[in-house]
Symmetry: C2
Subunit: 433 residues, 2 copies
């Protein structure tokens, strides 16, 4: 993918194209990290410099997960494009390339200088990216005036949005180890401490069925909801019925829009993703798994401190495990983390994006936050000391990270226009003091 | 495998060889059940008729489960034969064939008539076998005087045993269904009821980390331990250290041999096997699984009634799910069951096996029960109204159902001799009244 991007960018007239190598992944012997592709388009000192971020890696996908078509073959059906990465984030990356192509073919000037930064580790904690931003802040990325990231989604399926906040994500594993090899449950059931039983008890201690995090000390770190912030949620056009329609079930925990959106955007949540090492196939295998690795993650929000969260979570899991009285061995650890981010939704970059949205879609955008983490948003903001905007192309029902991921053709086309127009309005807008 | 057995049996001089077809598996459209191979060796009305049971199917196995070598290629290493089925139950089936071969080559008479019955669904509840026994009880299986099954293991690694009881096994699934497709935990964490969270809570309600079944009404059905039965456990040569050595960890729940063996043989246990539908691979996928199927089973003992157990378990799971207050959908059901079995360890068949053991191994056998279910033991006993013996070949550390399953070469060789000698002593022993 990185080499494919280099070729496309070259053909489109980008310059200074480089593959920034990131070396070997930490704690591995020889696992080479995928390179970050950087490139420039335009280099006029009179113009503002806009950094465009995207990622060319995707979530895992297998046909047998429940895809209707091969996840790695793009299929157009019912005015939508299906395939892994269609919306997260290969689709939006292609939008940016299409903008260059359109300006080239129409011989139009792009009134800002573009600095592209496309990484390949976004779905695995953006390993190496923060280091690169730090390293290049006064070099390749010097003078960046604003950052635009198109790697999230509309709130629903009808109304375009601008996004000014994202939750963070701290992903943990609980490894419980008992016997040296899997055992026959007939021979050893009732005789040995079973790792999977221990893990089930720990899982049940993490979160309630209604989503309440049961680990003490986390809610206490969450910023208090002010009446002003609470009022922001009164004006968002959103309905729970449509939301339930999107997910295909009436299993929303909350009975009103405000609670649901606040749960999604400004409160932490804990999800249990699965178990590595246990029996996962169809059928009835009478096995006692010898070693299981439970996976869960916590979505973080202001003002949760990531390092303190890790400490609280790992200590809690260890304490709860001790209470079980099991002779198995436990190891709880952080797999990766990414901090939350919140911005000012009325700065010059957002104003340009709002004008672009109005121009292309004919409506004012909704201002949203995101549940999903895009941790590097914060890295760009903090290290480059610049404003970041999330300007999504896809819809809320695109199925990112899920089966049958898609992007609707109108979103692909109008989204490309919106991103392109944004660049033109950016040139017009006056930077905030 | 069935056809391979037919060929071997034919070459060895067996007669009346048939593939008993079992039709389509219930609740499937066109899934053909594997046939049961039946054959005779000898047909002298003056001789006793011994039914030999074995199975040619095996548990699932994949190299990536942790096998050191391809599970479906037999590998000899350190005086042991490694491969799926080495001990459960292809190895013992081959022992029987070797006995025919030895008698043929040595031109020795086998002093009993043999009736072979090799099935291919043992690892999946022996579907179709009970029906066949019922159908053939007055036909192919008419006049059977005793049944011998070699499909279990020594208690430890050094001392041969005869086995007079096995636990049953009722295998259950808990299906919890929420959204129509997997969701991104960033977008939906804290917003929807997560099936995997519900399942974790239900799992934790089934059994304690020390193996205590938490479902009320099951322990109440267990036969009271009499002082006489309790005393039987005083004479069994067994040590927990060696047992822990076998399993490769010090994770035995019990601190004394009697408690450990009673937990294994005469009390029920509940094991949690795994989850279908959740994230099971290495790495960190931020998914909310849309539908998960939890798998667990209960090992049953006298006097648990199987149907009543199902009723209690399913009602309990439904009640506990209702308490969770989740909007997801639950379905708890039995996948398959097999009853327990207990015999008289001093009848003529056991006496013959004890003499064979003494002859080949030079020691008296230990009398054991088994934790693992061999439900058809009971079917043979009840339908054919005959005595059944379990006469194992392999050792307690063979790793049946686990990775790196093996059979030690001495067990394979001496085990074959023991099974062969048993047939000779059976001819000598007088049937009990």
């Amino acid at each position: 993918m990185a080499h494919w991007l280099v070729k496309e960018l070259t053909d489109l007239g980008a310059t200074d194209i480089e593959l920034k190598e990131l070396g070997i992944q930490e704690d591995t012997k020889d696992l080479q990290l995928p390179p970050i592709v950087v490139a420039r388009y335009g280099n006029d000192p009179a113009k503002k410099n806009i950094l465009i971020y995207g990622h060319y890696d995707v979530q895992p996908a297998q046909l047998e997960d429940g895809w209707n078509t091969d996840p790695f073959t793009l299929v157009e059906k019912d005015d939508a494009l299906y395939g892994r990465g269609a919306t997260d984030d290969k689709g939006p990356v292609i939008c940016w390339l299409n903008i260059l192509q359109a300006h080239n073919e129409l011989k139009l000037d792009i009134p800002v200088n573009l600095v592209f930064c496309f990484e390949g580790m976004e779905e695995s904690g953006s390993l190496g990216l923060e280091g690169l931003i730090e390293k290049e802040k006064d070099a390749y990325f010097k003078g960046v005036d604003a950052v635009c990231i198109s790697d999230n989604y509309w709130l629903g399926t009808k109304h375009p949005v601008l996004t000014y906040g994202v939750r963070g994500c701290n992903y943990y594993s609980i490894t419980i180890e008992g016997p040296a090899a899997d055992l026959h449950s007939g021979l050893f059931g009732g005789v040995v401490h079973e790792p999977m039983i221990d893990l089930s008890h720990l899982f049940a201690k993490l979160v309630s069925p209604s989503g309440e995090i049961l680990i003490p000390g986390i809610q206490e770190m969450v910023a208090t909801l002010t009446p002003e912030e609470d009022a922001l949620y009164d004006n968002i056009n959103f309905d729970l019925e449509g939301f339930e329609g999107n997910i295909g079930s009436k299993t929303i925990i909350h009975d009103n829009v405000k609670s649901a959106l606040q749960a999604r955007w400004r409160y932490p949540s804990l999800s249990i993703h699965g178990v590595e090492g246990a029996f996962y196939s169809p059928g009835a295998k009478t096995v006692i798994p010898a070693k299981v690795i439970g996976k869960f993650s916590i979505r973080t929000v202001p003002d949760i401190e990531s390092a303190k969260l890790d400490q609280i979570v790992i200590k809690y899991v260890e304490e709860e495990f001790a209470k079980l009285g099991s002779k198995n061995k436990l190891k709880a650890e952080l797999i990766h983390d990414g901090n939350y981010w919140v911005s000012n939704p009325h700065n010059w970059s957002f104003r340009a994006a709002a004008r672009a949205t109005k121009k292309v879609w004919g409506v004012d955008p909704d201002y949203t936050r995101e549940g999903g983490s895009i941790p590097i948003t914060l890295s760009f903001q903090d290290i480059l000391k610049t404003s970041v905007i999330l300007l999504p192309v896809g819809r809320g029902d695109d199925g990112a990270h899920s089966t049958n991921e898609k992007i609707n053709v109108p979103n692909y086309i109008e989204g490309t226009k919106t991103l392109g127009s944004y660049l033109h309005y950016l040139a017009e807008e006056e930077k905030d003091a």
